[in-house]
């Protein structure tokens, strides 16, 4: 733990003399990781094209977008939260809760836009609950968001129960909108969720890498105390990140509902792990302070393409899970491997 702190201190942004050098070093290591991701992505694409006769089909890209777009959207606020050294495991439950709110209101005859507004508000409120408990009360985010993971899903279950909306006798969701589940943007093979993800990724990337707020997030993740002393409003940043996460995940819930033309309380169950996997594999350090949005976008592409290729090849889903798990382990071990080996050597020496 102490050597970990020392590593962090080396990159301390408060230290004026080494600030630029430290940042350059960080950029270099991040860039190395992203080059690695590009290589992996090319590898996956070559593998898919070589092994599966249907991988090069243009519909593959559309299906890929349909399957991973709404998950990828949730990965963006998660990236920012992990940057600050926290985590939000309630994302997929929030997706399910907001979808259920939309569903239950629709079932009771509300029109679409007000129902969506309420569902997004629920997202903001749920996020604020996480934010208050983590940022204001200072509770550990992993425990808080495991709690809200269960809470949000439980509320969704109470709202919809065994009901799938639209139920028998209900109106269908607006056809112009549910079209996002079956048709790409005209003239392309881009799913609507893909484009929304890319736009949000650009916004997220600009905020994280080109604004004082983004630099503050890095600082919070690297050394919360130092960040606090240097005038960064650590708690406020964390609070609002959770609110943003709640709203974005609620939005993803709307998209999934439209994509499926329906919603049940269990929508998206278990996807929080996929979201975390994408973020970590994208090179965002679980300890905070390190990572880029470009890496996360590459990670999304790799996970999406790999899933398409393996499903087309009818590789057993258990083996698909093993491959995903192995990739995730690599993403944690490789960047931290040097430090881990150093720690191990020190321990052996002491003995």
């Amino acid at each position: 733990m102490t050597s970990d702190m020392a590593t962090r201190a080396r990159h301390s942004p408060g230290d004026e003399g080494t600030d630029t050098a430290g940042r350059r070093a960080r950029w270099r290591s991040a860039a190395r990781w992203e080059v690695g991701l590009v290589v992996v992505l090319i590898g996956v694409l070559v593998f898919g094209a070589g092994e599966s006769s249907t991988f090069v089909d243009p519909t593959t890209f559309f299906y890929l977008g349909i399957n991973i777009g709404y998950i990828a959207i949730m990965a963006l606020p998660m990236t920012l939260i992990v940057m600050t050294g926290e985590i939000d495991l309630s994302v997929a439950s929030m997706l399910g809760l907001s979808g259920s709110v939309l569903g239950v209101l629709w079932h009771h005859g509300w029109s679409f836009v007000p129902a969506v507004v309420v569902a997004l508000l629920v997202g903001a409120l749920g996020g604020a609950l996480n934010g208050i408990l983590v940022a204001k009360a200072g509770l550990p985010s992993i425990a808080v968001t495991i709690g809200t993971l269960t809470l949000f899903r439980g509320l969704a279950e109470i709202l919809l129960g065994s009901l799938t909306v639209p139920a028998a006798g209900d109106r269908q969701f607006p056809a112009a909108l549910t079209n996002i589940g079956v048709a790409p943007i005209p003239g392309t093979q881009l799913s609507y969720t893909t484009v929304i993800f890319l736009v949000l990724a650009v916004v997220c990337g600009v905020v994280l890498h080109a604004t004082p707020l983004g630099r503050a997030m890095h600082a919070v993740g690297l050394q919360p105390e130092a960040a606090q002393f240097s005038g960064i409003r650590v708690r406020r940043i964390k609070f609002w990140l959770y609110v943003v996460s709640g709203v974005v995940c609620a939005f993803a819930g709307m998209l999934l509902t439209l994509q499926n033309s329906s919603v049940s309380y269990s929508a998206g169950t278990g996807l929080e792990l996929n979201v975390v996997a994408i973020v970590l594999f994208g090179g965002v350090s679980i300890f905070g302070g390190r990572g880029t949005v470009v890496g996360v976008v590459l990670s999304v592409a790799i996970f999406g393409a790999l899933q398409m290729a393996l499903t087309q090849l009818n590789v057993q889903p258990e083996i698909q899970n093993i491959i995903t798990g192995a990739l995730l382990l690599i993403s944690v071990v490789v960047p931290n491997g040097g430090e881990a080996i150093g720690r191990l050597r020190e321990r052996i020496k002491r003995k």
Binding site: D57, T59, T60, S262, S264, G270, E318
Partner: protein
């Protein structure tokens, strides 16, 4: 790992038997007319998309489907996720579309969320069959539901099964799941109708164990003390019947007085049947369910079956089936047949 190896071996065997059986397709003395007999094309690919790839019940159904397609010179691709979610099944539907499959046989994890993807498949010319758990997509896509057993048949056959064992005489009770369970309540409704045929059998009460072993045991004990003259119990739920069987197994005096039957899983009930605590119970055969789904899918894809009410097709060794009219939220469907009765003579053959 053993299962993976088993599936691999089964797949190899299936592909061998494709060769072996290819000359026999087109035979079959259909008893419903020549229009449907032997009209199945060769080389069809049917995607079986079970709820997940590990559920033993679904694995048996998939194997039934593989057997059916092997008999008609086609093949089955089993594709799904490890979790029972719509999100895990959608990529499999997409893969079926991209592979230009002839048909999809799916056990839906969600009644509606799969509809947009299945609609795309349907528009691409793929025939859709659902089994085990139906999809509810309104009018489209058109699909045939392979119903495991008729609701009325389940209710009436359980009463008949019990009547045979207690000589159609005495007090009986029902140990059900939740009081709100749609399936169970529908079956119980038909049980009551059927009981009118047995004037000497009297249904004294229905108790609800909520499909929870502890609750089921509590209500069972209450039932036994309230009705000391009870002769029979029907438990139309796998949790209820296995809990009661376990209790009877340790209370042989009760087991000697009261006959237990209902719907159960052979794997859970095997030891109680073999030691005589339970004589017989019912469930449908999941392997036959998949076999029928396989034939239905192949027949639809070949144009030798249709969704018209009364249209018929031949399902190999199971014989001929007729499409039943849509009713309520269920579209066109065929019913597998009477539930399979499990007793000491056959229970060892089933492992689900």
């Amino acid at each position: 790992m053993h299962r993976v190896a088993g599936i691999a071996i089964a797949a190899v065997l299936a592909s061998v038997s494709i060769v072996a059986c290819s000359s026999s397709t087109g035979g079959g003395a259909g008893n419903t007319g020549a229009a449907t007999a032997g009209g199945i094309k060769k080389g069809l690919t049917v995607y079986f998309i079970p709820k997940d790839t590990q559920n033993p019940y679904e694995v048996l159904a998939d194997q039934g489907g593989q057997k059916a397609l092997a008999e008609v010179g086609g093949k089955v691709v089993v594709s799904s996720g490890t979790q029972d979610t719509a999100a895990a099944q959608i990529p499999s539907i997409q893969a079926a579309i991209q592979a230009h499959a002839a048909a999809i046989a799916i056990a839906g994890n969600d009644p509606s969320a799969l509809c947009p993807s299945l609609n795309q498949a349907s528009r691409a010319g793929i025939k859709i069959v659902s089994f085990d758990s139906d999809i509810n997509c309104g009018s489209s896509p058109d699909h045939l539901f392979i119903n495991q057993a008729d609701t009325r048949q389940i209710g009436t056959s359980e009463v008949d099964l019990l009547a045979k064992q207690i000589n159609s005489t005495g007090q009986i009770a029902i140990l059900s799941a939740a009081a709100s369970a749609t399936n169970q309540n529908a079956w119980i409704g038909y049980m009551k109708q059927q009981l009118a045929k047995y004037p000497n059998m009297k249904l004294v009460t229905t108790v609800y164990g909520n499909d929870d072993p502890a609750t089921s045991l509590t209500v069972l004990q209450g039932l036994l003390s309230a009705y000391p003259d009870l002769k029979g119990i029907i438990s139309p739920t796998t949790v209820g019947i296995s809990t009661a069987a376990q209790y009877f197994d340790t209370h042989k005096d009760i087991a000697a007085k009261i006959v237990l039957t209902g719907l159960g899983l052979p794997s859970q009930m095997k030891s109680y049947v073999l030691d005589g605590t339970v004589k017989s119970f019912e469930l449908w055969n999941p392997s036959n369910l998949g076999y029928l789904a396989g034939y239905a899918a192949a027949s639809l894809a070949s144009g030798s079956a249709s969704l018209q009410t009364g249209a018929s097709f031949k399902a190999g060794s199971l014989g001929s089936y007729q499409v039943a009219a849509a009713s309520g939220t269920t579209g066109p469907s065929v019913v597998l047949g009477p539930p399979t009765v499990f007793d000491a003579s056959n229970i060892s053959q089933f492992n689900f």
